[in-house]
C-alpha cells in the first residue's frame, strides 16, 4: 500500500500496513489560510488583526485588542469578501507538484471559533466573555461560522482536499479552558455547522485541539470529526485510541512539553520518544505520529534540524504494529 491507500485503510477501520507520520502522509496546504485566516509572514489579516511572527510560530499582537466588550463586536468586526481573498490562486501555486495518487491533500484552516474571538479581544477577555455574556458570544460565533463555512467551501472547490484540519485550541495541559457545559452551549452549535459543511461535501474533518481536551472528544466524534490532531499526552491516549478504533484517527502522541522537545534534547532522547510513541500507540492501528521537535530557530520541521533524519529513521525501523 502507498501512503494514500494505507491512510484510507486506517480511516475505514481496516488494518493498515504501516503507521504513518505527518511528514510523509500529507501534502499540507497553508496558502489558503494565509489569505483567509492568518498571514504566514505576519502583519494584518483580512479582519485587521495584526499578527506577530516569532521563531516559535505566530500569534495576534499581544495586548492590542480590537474590542474588550463582546457586546460591541458588530461595531468592529467586518467580514472579508471571500471572493476577493485569492484562494483559487493560492491553491494553484500550492498544488503545482502534488501527486494525488500517492499522498493525502490536507488543507489547514487555523483560527477557529474561539481562537478568532481571542484574536480580537485577547484570551482572558474572550474566556470571561463566554461566561459573562454567552448570548453575544453565540451571536458572534454564528456569524463567524458563516464566514468559515464560506471559506471551507472555497477551499474544497479550489484544493479538492481529502482532509481539512480545523484548528481551535480549547484546552491547557491540565484541562479545558471552559467547562464542557459552556463549550456545548456557547461554541458547539456553530462548531457543528462548520463540521457538517465540510463532511457534507465528502471531505474528512480533522479537529485540531491542543492540551487536555478529552472531555469533549466524544462531542467531536458525534459531530462527524474523523480525526483528532495534536493529541497530547495530557490526555488518556491509550484509552481514546482503543475506545474510538475504527471511528477516529488520533494524530499526535509526542510529549511536546517534555524533555524530547527541549532545545538541547539529544538524538538519544528524541529516538527514545519516537520509539515510545511507536510502541505505545502504533499497535492500536488508528494512530498518526506527529512529533514536535524544536530548536533555537523554531520548529524543526520548518527550519531544519540534523536530529530529524535519525528520528525518521528510528520511526521507520521500529516495529509499530
Amino acid at each position: 500500500m502507498n501512503q494514500r491507500e494505507n491512510f484510507f485503510a486506517m480511516l475505514e477501520g481496516r488494518k493498515p500496513e504501516f503507521i504513518p507520520n505527518i511528514m510523509e502522509v500529507y501534502k499540507i496546504c497553508i496558502f489558503g489560510a494565509d489569505r483567509a485566516d492568518q498571514p504566514l509572514v505576519g502583519g494584518l489579516d483580512a479582519f485587521g488583526v495584526n499578527w506577530v511572527v516569532t521563531k516559535e510560530g505566530e500569534m495576534p499582537e499581544p495586548n492590542r485588542f480590537m474590542f474588550e466588550d463582546i457586546a460591541d463586536w458588530k461595531e468592529y468586526v467586518h467580514f472579508p469578501d471571500v471572493d476577493a481573498l485569492g484562494i483559487e490562486e493560492a491553491a494553484k501555486i500550492e498544488l503545482a507538484d502534488v501527486n494525488r495518487d500517492e499522498v493525502i491533500v490536507n488543507v489547514y484552516s487555523p483560527t477557529g471559533l474561539f481562537e478568532r474571538l481571542a484574536a480580537f479581544m485577547g484570551f482572558e477577555n474572550a474566556l470571561c466573555s463566554l461566561v459573562e455574556d454567552p448570548e453575544s458570544c453565540q451571536e458572534f460565533f454564528e456569524a463567524f461560522a458563516d464566514y468559515k463555512i464560506a471559506c471551507m467551501n472555497r477551499f474544497i472547490d479550489a484544493f479538492q482536499p481529502d482532509v481539512i484540519t480545523y484548528f481551535d485550541d480549547l484546552a491547557t495541559a491540565n484541562g479545558l479552558f471552559m467547562s464542557p457545559a459552556v463549550y456545548r452551549s456557547v461554541i458547539k452549535p456553530s462548531h457543528k455547522r462548520i463540521i457538517e459543511a465540510v463532511t457534507s461535501r465528502g471531505v474528512i474533518f480533522n479537529q485540531h485541539t491542543c492540551g487536555k481536551c478529552e472531555k469533549i472528544i466524544e462531542d467531536y466524534v458525534e459531530m462527524g470529526a474523523k480525526m483528532w490532531s495534536s493529541a497530547q499526552v495530557s490526555n488518556d491516549l491509550d484509552g481514546i485510541l482503543e475506545k474510538y478504533q475504527g471511528r477516529l484517527i488520533v494524530e499526535g502522541g509526542w510529549d511536546s512539553s517534555g524533555p524530547a522537545s527541549y532545545n538541547d534534547a539529544t538524538v538519544e532522547d528524541i529516538i527514545a520518544e519516537t520509539v515510545r510513541c511507536a510502541k505505545q500507540y502504533g499497535p492500536k492501528g488508528n494512530f498518526i505520529f506527529l512529533p514536535t521537535l524544536l530548536n533555537e530557530n523554531g520548529n524543526a520541521i520548518f527550519v531544519g534540524d540534523p536530529r530529524l533524519a535519525p528520528m525518521i529513521e528510528a520511526w521507520h525501523t521500529v516495529d509499530k504494529l
Binding site: 506577530v52 499581544p62 491547557t172 524544536l294 533555537e296
Partner: protein, 219 residues
C-alpha cells in the same frame, strides 16, 4: 462577622465582582482588618478553587472570573492597605521570559499573589534578562518569578540565573520558576529556589520564600 467572610468567599468563588466589592465594603464597615479579610475570606476561596481545579471540577474561566472578583475586593481595600505601609507581605517581580508571549498563567499567578497581599511588579511578556536584572536592582523584590511556556525559551531561565550570579545579585533575591514545560528537576538543575505547578502552589511557595522557609516547593 463570620457571615460576611463566608459571603465574600462565596462571591469570589462564584466570580461575582459586584458582590465581592459589596461584601468587602460590608466587612470594612464592621471594622474588620484588611489582613483578616484576606486571610479569612480571600485565601480560603482560592484554596478551595485550587482543590476544585486539581479535581477537574472547575476550569480556567472559573479561576479567571474568581481572580477578577478577588481583584475587585482588593481594589476596595487598596487605599487602606497602602495607608499602612509594610502591610504588604512582600514584593514579587514577575515576567514571561524573552521570546515567549504567553501570559495567561503569569497573569493568574499575579492576581493570586495580589489577592493574597503581595505587591507585584509585572514586567510583562518577552522580558529580556537585562530587564529582570534591572528590576532586581531598582525594586529590590523579595522574589523574582519567571514564567516560560515554550521549551525553546527554557534556556532563558538558565541565562537569568547565570546573570544574577555574574552581577553579584544572586544572594539578594529568591527565584521561583514555572510554566508548563518547567519541572522541579529543571528548576533544581539551574539552581532556582523554588518551582510551582499552578497559581495556588505558586502563592504557597512565595510565602515560604519570603519567610526564608525551605518548604514543599523548594528545589
Amino acid at each position: 462577622m463570620e457571615k460576611v467572610f463566608a459571603e465574600l468567599q462565596e462571591a469570589i468563588e462564584n466570580g461575582e465582582t459586584q458582590a465581592a466589592m459589596d461584601k468587602t465594603k460590608d466587612a470594612l464597615k464592621l471594622g474588620l482588618r484588611t489582613d483578616k479579610i484576606i486571610q479569612t475570606a480571600i485565601n480560603p476561596a482560592f484554596k478551595d478553587l485550587g482543590q476544585k481545579m486539581f479535581d477537574g471540577e472547575i476550569y480556567v474561566t472559573d479561576v479567571l472570573m474568581a481572580s477578577r472578583a478577588a481583584h475587585a475586593a482588593m481594589y476596595v481595600m487598596e487605599p487602606i492597605i497602602s495607608r499602612f505601609s509594610g502591610a504588604t507581605k512582600g514584593i514579587v517581580a514577575i515576567g514571561t521570559v524573552a521570546g515567549d508571549l504567553h501570559d495567561i498563567g503569569k497573569n493568574l499567578v499575579i492576581m493570586m499573589l495580589q489577592g493574597s497581599g503581595y505587591t507585584v511588579i509585572d514586567l510583562g511578556i518577552d522580558v529580556p534578562v537585562e530587564t529582570f536584572i534591572d528590576a532586581v536592582r531598582t525594586h529590590k523584590p523579595d522574589v523574582l518569578a519567571l514564567s516560560s511556556l515554550l521549551t525553546t525559551t527554557l534556556p532563558e531561565l538558565d541565562n537569568l540565573m547565570e546573570a544574577l550570579v555574574q552581577q553579584g545579585l544572586r544572594s539578594q533575591v529568591k527565584v521561583i520558576v514555572g510554566g508548563a514545560p518547567v519541572t522541579a528537576e529543571y528548576a533544581g538543575r539551574i539552581k532556582a529556589d523554588a518551582y510551582a505547578n499552578d497559581l495556588f502552589e505558586a502563592t504557597e511557595a512565595v510565602g515560604d520564600l519570603v519567610k526564608n522557609r525551605i518548604g514543599k516547593y523548594a528545589v
